[in-house]
């Protein structure tokens, strides 16, 4: 049990550090790398919560595929460093203040919820909990319609990405002819 606690604190500190790195680092490339570290520690937390399949999916799909997409785009657009100084500092401070208010509200909501089960380490679970077998049977029995809707959503997003990335002749002529921009 003490081993699980130690792993939790290491992973939590790593996840928080990765998240802070995403927000605070000025070069977008380093932000992406920081997010990869964050996702890795989050996968460790998923493992601690008996979500083995999701931890593997997180590492393979997120840290593997999606982050590669980010790295490609950062390399493509050059990843210019963001000038931090010349913005209106009042608005920035207001944003941080709003985030702190959100954090306080969420913590109050969690701690004040009065859910007894929150103070336990969870209900008793069987051996196959969170494995691919359980996820697969839930997806194909109880959650078949959300599963199909998710697959349609992926298809629509793929078509949308193709439409966005295509070179549109009409659009180019519009901008070249001194149109909208």
């Amino acid at each position: 049990m003490i081993f699980k606690d130690i792993v939790f604190f290491i992973a939590a500190i790593g996840a928080l550090g990765g998240a802070a790195g995403v927000v605070l680092l000025r070069n977008p490339f380093y932000s992406v790398l920081s997010l990869v570290g964050h996702l890795f520690f989050l996968a460790v937390l998923f493992l601690l919560l008996n979500a083995q399949f999701l931890a593997a999916a997180q590492l393979i799909v997120y840290a593997g595929a999606v982050m590669v997409l980010y790295v490609f785009v950062v390399a493509y657009i050059g990843g210019a460093e963001e000038p931090l100084g010349d913005t209106v500092s009042g608005i920035r401070a207001l944003g941080v203040l709003f985030a702190l208010c959100l954090l306080a509200e969420l913590c109050v909501a969690v701690i004040g919820s009065g859910l007894k089960a929150l103070d336990s380490s969870g209900a008793h679970i069987g051996a196959g909990f969170g494995g691919p077998g359980q996820i697969g049977s839930l997806l194909l029995n109880r959650f078949l319609i959300p599963f199909e809707a998710a697959s349609y959503l992926l298809l629509i997003a793929a078509v949308g990405a193709l439409v966005l990335a295509r070179k549109r002749r009409g659009f180019e002529e519009l901008t070249e002819g001194g149109g909208t921009a």
Binding site: K4, D5, A15, A19, V22, V23, P28, S31, L35, L39, L42, L45, F46, L49, A51, L54, A57, Y62, Y70, V73, V74, I77, A80, E82, T87, R92, L94, G95, V96, F98, A99, L100, L102, L103, L106, V110, A117, L118, D119, S121, G122, A123, H124, G130, I135, L138, F143, P146, A150, L154, I156, A157, A158, G160, A161, L164, A165, T175, T180, A181
Partner: protein, 99 residues
Amino acid sequence: MNVTWYVVLSAFLFAIGAAGVLTRRNPLVILLCLELMLNAGNLALIAFSRMWGNGDGQIFALVVMVVAACEVVVGLGIIVGIFRRRIPEDVDALSELRG
């Protein structure tokens, strides 16, 4: 380890992501911070799934991952489109759609 720890950690991660969305100006970094917020939600969902000993929350987290992947694809497509049209990558300058 109590479930409260996980949920409070996810609240912290969500707030960090929200702070990033509100303060950063590069649209690419804003997308990264949105990922942070979605993943914080995922952590809370999986923690509650563990709390009830029920797999439904994990399915929900899987759907959130699908939605996040779609958001990344379309968002990055828009960012590449912005870059191609030589518009500066700054959400303060991206005000063309403002009514």
